[in-house]
Amino acid sequence: MKTSHAIGGGRFAVETYEFGSGEPLIFLHGAVGLTGMDPFLEDLGKDFKVIAPHLPGYGESTGGELIEDVTDAALFVHQFMDDLGIKSAYLMGHSMGGMLAAETAAHDTSRARKLVLVGPAGFWIDEHPIPDFFAMDLSEMGTYLFHDPKSPLAQLFLAIPDDMNQLADMYVERVKRLSMASRFLWPIPDRGLKKRAWRIAAPTLLLWGESDKLIPPVYAGEFTKRIKNARLTTIKEAGHLLPYEQQAAFCKAVRDFLKG
């Protein structure tokens, strides 16, 4: 269910998608943001109170100009939790959101009861350069984001509307979102998490698509060697967008970890 919260004394209006009830599970999205059709969130809503905010500058969320770097973003997450009256929660982030979730958990170790990082950004390995997402055409993105770029799901993601006005709106929104993401990821998505990751105390699950070609699974090692209580689960026939591509296996892995 889509709703909106005034955060930080009205500095941010935050559009959120919320499902279910129970222990709060906060989900931070990746660079392209939420689609508004993110079935894995509803799925997890069967067991948790899922709260997925659109970060400032994404969708209808305002205040993007106040978020200039990962510190600002992590402070925003703290404020968001404060204003929703959540002291600690299951914290989950995908891709760029994984990087921001890890930053949040490193800043204040009491925030995350457990941490789930899904194909997270945040590191750079010279031998395994991450492809330049920002310079990609939609068609190229398919190759890097999906295990099977020809699947109906992938085609739906990459569809270009026929209507020119709709296309213009889509283009402007996409530029707006990626422009926000560039504050954390451009030109290389390393903003010093390697200095701070050791502070993360929460039990951490790393979830990776086995055929992730954007941030390849080799990056998991950067997290497991720095976060003391971390383990890795890889999911078969899944690329970078594993929550969409392998929803069932993804949700099962999350449930097993959070309830285990």
């Binding site: 200039e68 330049d132 920002f134 310079a135 990609m136 055409d137 190229e140 213009a168 283009y171 402007v172 996409r174 530029v175 707006k176 979102r177 990626l178 422009s179 926000m180 993401a181 560039s182 504050r183 451009w186 030109p187 290389i188």
Partner: protein, 431 residues
């Protein structure tokens, strides 16, 4: 009417199958396509051409900054400015310009421009571009979302460094300096005229109007397509109650002159093809990083200068199409005269940035076209806009106060194994 002979300094030797084989002339073009021995020849040819333009009576010599590309070989246009300062006498040095957001600290630009202004005797035009997305975001790693803010701060710092009388501290967001104290300061006071080159970002118009800077529209689409941008600019100027002075607008136009229209096609068509199909072959993903152009510019429907859409527009065009659509103004002196006069009138433009070295064009053709232009076109257009005052050209020292480079006739006298060098002293050298 003022004429700046503008050099892009392209690499002339890209292979014929460049477009098919490689995705981009910019950012990730293979390094092994550059041969420094040919590069040596090119830089010297190109400086010769600029010096020739000075002799032919052009008002300005234009150079600009680009990175990691074969389209324009000037990562540092100031080096070209320095070379020209010594070997040219009359023309203004139009360095259009330094991408001020890329310099850390940007005070470097204030210093180098001041040096060029002092060396040249006050002939500098200081250009402050944002820079293309390829240059700034992809080659120099600037975050697209913040580059315009960084540009604005750099601009503020540079102008303050040029004009402030005392040492000052600068507490910017991107640059913090405890002591700003420009040595040397520019010769032109309070500072050299500022021209802001743009590719059609609508914010630039307001910026120029606000600061009384000249706006130089650098387009590759020619004057017919450029009219939309010029009209937008003049509308902003009118709204702000500014004088619609043609000299406050510069426009870049590809021009080629031959004895006849047919000869122009025969001589120049292959080089124009090289320019549009190799020099401008930019991978679409590098054309416009998300956040580089503001939402209002995107919404305004102005086309990005390079990338897929720009290339599609040119797809399958013949020489005749390029000429008819005004991408290039070419032909006999009379043809060029008529069309260029019409073009400048329709844009209300007083500063023509004329691109005469086109793509792979060799030196002898550049010289021929330039000479014909200078002799048979320029004089006929000089009188345009005579009712307006050009407030955007440099004010150099009078000739009598300018230093002359000493002649290079060293005499070597050898006495008892000791070498003595002596050079004749010029009476006008600085004392």
């Amino acid at each position: 009417m003022k004429f700046t002979w503008f050099h892009l300094m392209p690499y002339r030797f890209l292979p014929d199958d460049f477009k098919e084989k490689y995705r981009s002339v910019w950012v990730d073009i293979p390094r092994d396509l550059y041969d420094p021995k040919l590069g040596h020849r090119l830089y010297n040819d190109y400086l010769d051409q600029l010096e020739f333009a000075d002799q032919m009576g052009f008002d300005g010599l234009g150079v600009n900054e680009h990175h990691q590309n074969a389209y324009g070989l000037m990562p540092s246009p100031n080096i070209m400015g320095a070379a020209m300062a010594r070997r040219t006498r009359n023309a203004n040095l139009v360095v259009l310009g330094n991408s001020i957001a890329l310099y850390n600290p940007p005070i470097r630009v204030a210093e180098e421009f001041a040096m060029l202004d002092v060396i040249s005797g006050g002939r500098l035009v200081a250009g402050f571009p944002v820079g293309t997305s390829m240059d700034t975001n992809f080659c120099y790693g600037e975050v697209p979302a913040t580059i315009r803010e960084k540009y604005n701060e750099a601009h503020e710092l540079i102008i303050k460094a040029w004009t402030e009388k005392e040492v000052f501290a600068f507490n910017g967001k991107f640059t913090k300096l405890r002591y700003v104290n420009l040595w040397p300061k520019p010769l032109q006071q309070p500072h050299p005229p500022v021209w802001v080159p743009g590719g059609g970002s609508i914010e630039t118009w307001d910026f120029c109007a606000e600061h009384d800077y000249q706006y130089s529209f650098l387009s590759y689409f020619g004057y017919i397509a450029g009219k939309k941008v010029a009209d937008g600019y003049w509308k902003v100027m009118a709204k702000r109650g500014k004088e619609l002075n043609p000299y406050s607008l510069g426009f870049a136009q590809v021009v080629a002159v031959a004895n006849t229209d047919e000869e122009a096609e025969r001589l120049y068509a292959p080089h124009m093809d090289y320019f549009y199909n190799r020099c401008l072959h930019v991978y679409n993903g590098f054309a416009d990083a998300p956040g580089y152009r503001t939402q209002s510019t995107i919404r305004s429907g102005l086309l990005a200068q390079v990338g897929r859409e720009a290339a599609l527009r040119r797809e399958g065009m013949t020489w005749k199409d390029f000429v008819d659509q005004g991408y290039i103004i070419a032909g006999s002196p009379k043809t060029v005269r008529d069309r260029l006069t019409h073009a400048m009138k329709s844009l209300n433009c007083g500063h023509l940035m004329i691109l005469m070295q086109i793509g792979s064009m060799p030196p002898e053709l550049v010289r021929g076209s330039t000479e014909l232009f200078a002799r048979e076109v320029m004089p006929h257009m000089r009188g345009m806009w005579s009712g307006f005052q050009d407030k955007w050209s440099p004010s150099p020292l009078p000739e009598s106060e300018r230093a002359m480079p000493a002649p290079l006739n060293f005499k070597r006298a050898e006495t008892n194994g000791t070498t003595v060098h002596s050079a004749p002293h010029d009476s006008r050298s600085a004392k």
